[in-house]
């Protein structure tokens, strides 16, 4: 069943088009990824789904209801774990959850029960009465997720939930998100971490400059855009012209990122490896989602 249906979404800020005709369908219970460089429109999309930001065009339905008309009702069944820390530093960990529960009209006793459960779920039970500024960055991220679970959402939107986390905490968060997925909570996950997307997402879109440039299952996307094998050549100084001539002669297609050439859909047997090794450091490997990402969003480094 489709739980979120976006048709031709348009969002403009003063002189920037943040979303430029976005269509999307997200099924109930899936983990759906939003990938894209900074400024691609991921956070804008999330703010629109949360009816925190009005649309300039198109229509967005959540569980069949229009976000521009039924904001409150839709927000009751959803929650957001934002990218920036907006925990309430004037309140303790427990008070943060109880105050949040009040916004959803959850009765006090029930709120206390859920707060304790959610803190335990995110391994924060020891920090019940701590102040927010006593928490590490990783604990704050986990608390933001615990807070987002207080209303037992049907849909949770996670905006770069593991950016800046150490590997241990990242794996902990991944494991918890998988558990939520098993419980049937629909997840919309915005990320710049390709490993995260490949591990967690059932389906994903890659966005660039306000448009969707690819959509599908992670493995399908890799095979469709990159083939099954990839040759990566870090070219030696002065050998670039020679390498380009070789690739052109063989009729291969490639992408150059700084001094690294990624030759699409190519195997060792496509080359005279002895000769190739005089041109650069060579590795033959399976392509990843990151290769797809770089191919589709261009080599430009966006700020």
């Amino acid at each position: 069943m489709i739980i979120i249906k976006a048709s031709k979404l348009v969002k403009k800020y003063k002189d920037v088009v943040a979303l430029d005709g976005v269509d999307m369908e997200i099924a109930e219970g899936e983990c759906f990824g939003l990938l894209g460089p900074n400024g691609a429109g991921k956070t804008t999309f999330i703010r629109i789904v949360m009816s925190m930001s009005p649309l300039n065009g198109g229509q967005l339905l959540v569980a069949g209801k229009d976000v521009s008309k039924n904001g409150r009702e839709i927000k009751r069944m959803m929650s957001l774990a934002p990218q920036v820390d907006n925990l309430d530093p004037d309140l303790t960990v427990l008070q943060n959850l109880l105050t949040y529960a009040r916004y959803y009209d959850i009765p006090r006793a029930e709120a206390r029960k859920r707060a304790a459960e959610n803190l335990a779920f995110m391994n924060l039970q020891e920090k019940l009465h701590a102040n927010i500024d006593e928490l590490s960055g990783g604990m704050k991220r986990r608390l933001i997720i615990a807070r987002a679970l207080i209303n037992e959402p049907k849909i949770i939107l996670l905006d770069e939930p593991t950016t800046g986390l150490d590997p241990q905490t990242r794996h902990l968060v991944w494991q918890k998100l998988k558990l939520l997925r098993e419980k049937g909570v629909t997840q919309i996950l915005s990320t710049q971490n390709m490993e995260e997307a490949a591990r967690l997402c059932d389906r994903l879109v890659i966005m660039n400059e306000g448009r969707i440039v690819a959509e599908g299952r992670p493995l399908d996307l890799i095979h469709r855009h990159m083939g099954k094998q990839l040759t990566e050549i870090a070219v030696f100084p002065g050998k670039k012209e020679e390498l380009l001539a070789l690739l052109q002669a063989k009729g291969l297609s490639w992408q150059q990122i700084e001094n690294s050439f990624r030759v699409f859909d190519s195997r060792p047997q496509d080359f005279d490896t002895g000769y190739l090794l005089t041109l650069g450091d060579v590795s033959f490997r399976a392509p990843t989602l990151e290769d797809v990402f770089l191919k589709l969003t261009g080599r430009t480094l966006l700020e």
Binding site: K75, N86, D88, L91, T92, R102, Y104
Partner: protein, 254 residues
Amino acid sequence: MMGAIHYPFRVWQRNLSVFFRVWKPELAFSLAEPVFVLVVMGLGLGSLIGSIEGKSYIQFIGPGIIAGYAMYSSAAECTYGSFTRMKIQKTYDAIIATPVNVQDVIIGEILWGATRSMITSGMVLAVISVLGMVSSPWALLIIPLSFLAGLMFSSISLLYTSIAPSYYTFNYFYTVFITPMYFFSGIFFPLTNFPRIVQDLSWLAPLTPVAKLTRAMAGGRWSDDLFLSLAVIVVVTGIFFFLALKSMKRRLVK
């Protein structure tokens, strides 16, 4: 399904929870300054002045000081306090991701600012009553009046906050608006000593009608221009409440 009317109250409750964590120093500080001013001006300056309008100087300024600090409490809450929650702590962003919307947040902030005015004036009223400066039970009306005055000053302050680019610019608000009003609203001297034009202009300073009313209530003396004072407060509150709501929405909804 509950109606939507209670959502501003949820924001008010959030601010109350924070207040309960820090209420001791908060209350001490919000009482310290008015009492300090009352004693220093009332006894110090008062010994040189003799009596005004048949009262000792400290009796004259006591009720006006309640009005002045009712103003300061809500102004501080809805300038520095609101700006911190909006820009630094991103508290508004966190709240509007729940069923509470932007309009509820703004109304909740104004209600809370008014509540702070009421708390402060309640305490100052208690102090000046103990010091024997209140001669009528009508003085209890000062408490609801200061809630109304708080709504007015919160709305004015939040309107300024809605266009303030940084903390620094609150200096202008206090230097150009709040502080002159504090001195030219008839709290420390009767405006009858000033030329007609100053007296007329002082009506534009919304603290003037509040000070008139607190003085009348503390003394239990009613006069006809008090209805006009009350009407001025109600109208100014209505106008600035509407403007604050509109301008704050424009800043927050993007």
